[in-house]
């Protein structure tokens, strides 16, 4: 039984570490004009800004907008060889707010309930692992 428990814990931590590793792996991008800060921790990543609230209130607006938000330069970015042209291209590069993994702040709405739910699931798992009913 201790070996089985250790094996269970090993798989548990393998999955947890792979999940965390993938979170750190998903950070490298080529040069981009705008980057969002990662692992800020101090502020809510889901804090609704005023512009966001306005856009969310228009969620069911039936206006037919373009498929994509159009950048000032619609053409694909060229990859010029000369560095001077590269500077010119970078100045006109459209801003892209990229997504990253971030810590969930404890101030997030419903965090206590979610944490309680997780602890409850863990307790159920722990109890079943100790008593092994019907196994």
């Amino acid at each position: 039984m201790p070996i089985r428990l250790l094996s269970s814990l090993a798989v548990f931590f393998l999955c947890l570490s792979l999940g965390l590793a993938s979170a750190w792996a998903h950070t490298d991008h080529k040069e981009e004009p705008v980057q969002t800060p990662g692992f800020s921790g101090g502020e809510s990543i889901y804090a609704a800004e005023s512009e966001e609230e306005k856009s969310n209130s228009e969620l069911f607006d039936s206006s037919t907008s373009d498929l994509f938000e159009q950048a000032p330069n619609h053409d694909k970015m060229e990859m010029p060889m000369e560095s001077g042209h590269m500077d010119h291209a970078m100045k006109h590069a459209p801003a892209v707010k990229l997504s990253k993994y971030q810590w969930v702040p404890t101030s997030q709405r419903g965090y206590a309930l979610a944490a309680g739910f997780t602890v409850l699931a863990g307790l159920v798992f722990g109890t079943l692992s100790i008593f092994r009913p019907f196994e």
Partner: protein, 336 residues
């Protein structure tokens, strides 16, 4: 009295049919990885049904509906986190399950068909991961779709149904969403049913090199799988509680600034070397997997006596590990 009630229910509901004997080693992590994968898939289905209430599958509103879910809906961030991390955990358990089946040569006679069904399930999971990435409709999603369309256009008539030209009046995002929530689940459930049927029909494979041990009832294995499933669920909830999955803003056409999720970043690395590997690599991998039971036809199942098979496995795992690491740290040197 409790025992009498249980016995009565068993008889009424036919549950006594589940009391058949199976090998005791079924109740081990090695031989329950498939069950854990099934548990993760169940979490995905349940959380996906809940998520579908809030998602709007149009290009104009898809991304906004997800931001609305995580910003405004109570515990929406947690629900989306559960769905995302269940997919991540499923990928890991699926890979481990495949490796175990390969090491124990459980694809050999008479289980070749079940291996092929498993390869089909792997292809479906890859499609789930892809369509799930696209429907969030941020920059990463757009670029994933861009690469997919590049491949589809080069497949000629075969790829035509996968492109926008096939149905100009219907946004491709809508069709991808429908595939994610209807077509793929239906085919997956069908193959899953067959997969489990053949596990039952051929019985659980023995541990190579060991004599047949004691047996247990399937209901005991069911209890073990329930516990494992709750463990998987706890892990998923913990990850969702700690780490928010990425969600960007609506995409900007014509840019290539993101990398794919780690499950696909290996092909990103290959693409850097040779762009047509987007088509060639997956085809070769599927072909290789399909051929496994037909190439390795000896009766030997012990991993110690199959050095070539083990060498192929180790080299394959190293190959993908190196590509994933390389793809994560390298930068794109071309554009589609």
């Amino acid at each position: 009295m409790a025992t009498d009630i249980c016995e009565t229910l068993k008889e009424r509901l036919g549950l006594h049919l589940l009391d058949y004997e199976i090998p005791e080693h079924a109740n081990s992590i090695r031989y329950s990885l498939g069950g854990m994968t099934l548990a993760a898939f169940t979490i995905l289905v349940v959380s996906g049904v809940l998520l579908s209430q809030f998602y709007v599958p149009t290009p104009e509103q898809a991304n906004r509906s997800l931001h609305y879910l995580v910003d405004q809906v109570y515990l929406g961030w947690f629900l989306r986190g559960i769905h995302f991390w269940a997919a991540e955990v499923l990928t890991v358990t699926l890979m481990l399950h495949m490796v175990r089946v390969y090491i124990t040569a459980s694809y050999k006679k008479p289980r070749e068909v079940n291996w092929l069904i498993g390869v089909g399930l792997l292809i479906l999971v890859v499609n789930f991961l892809f369509t799930g990435t696209v429907i969030k409709w941020d920059q990463e999603a757009y670029e994933a779709l861009d690469h997919f369309l590049w491949v589809a256009e080069r497949l000629g008539p075969v790829g035509l149904p996968l492109t926008e030209k096939f149905s100009p009046g219907v946004p491709l995002l809508n069709r991808i969403y429908m595939a994610h929530i209807s077509l793929l689940p239906m085919v997956t459930l069908l193959l899953l049913g067959l997969h489990l049927f053949y596990v039952k029909y051929h019985k659980l494979s023995s541990i190579p090199g060991e004599a047949e041990g004691p047996s247990i009832k399937f209901t005991q294995h069911g209890a073990y799988l329930r516990r494992a499933g709750i463990g998987i669920f706890t892990l998923v909830c913990l990850l969702a509680l700690l780490i928010a999955p990425p969600l960007g803003d609506p995409p900007i056409a014509g840019l290539e600034v993101t990398k794919p999720p780690w499950q696909f970043v290996w092909i990103y690395a290959l693409e850097n070397i040779w762009v047509p590997s987007l088509i060639v690599a997956p085809a070769l991998i599927v072909f290789g997997l399909v051929m496994v039971p037909f190439v390795d036809r000896s009766e030997e199942r012990s991993w110690k006596k199959r050095p070539v098979a083990m060498a192929v496995l180790i080299l394959t795992l190293l190959f993908f590990t190196v590509l994933i690491i390389w793809g994560s740290v390298t930068t794109m040197t071309h554009s589609m």
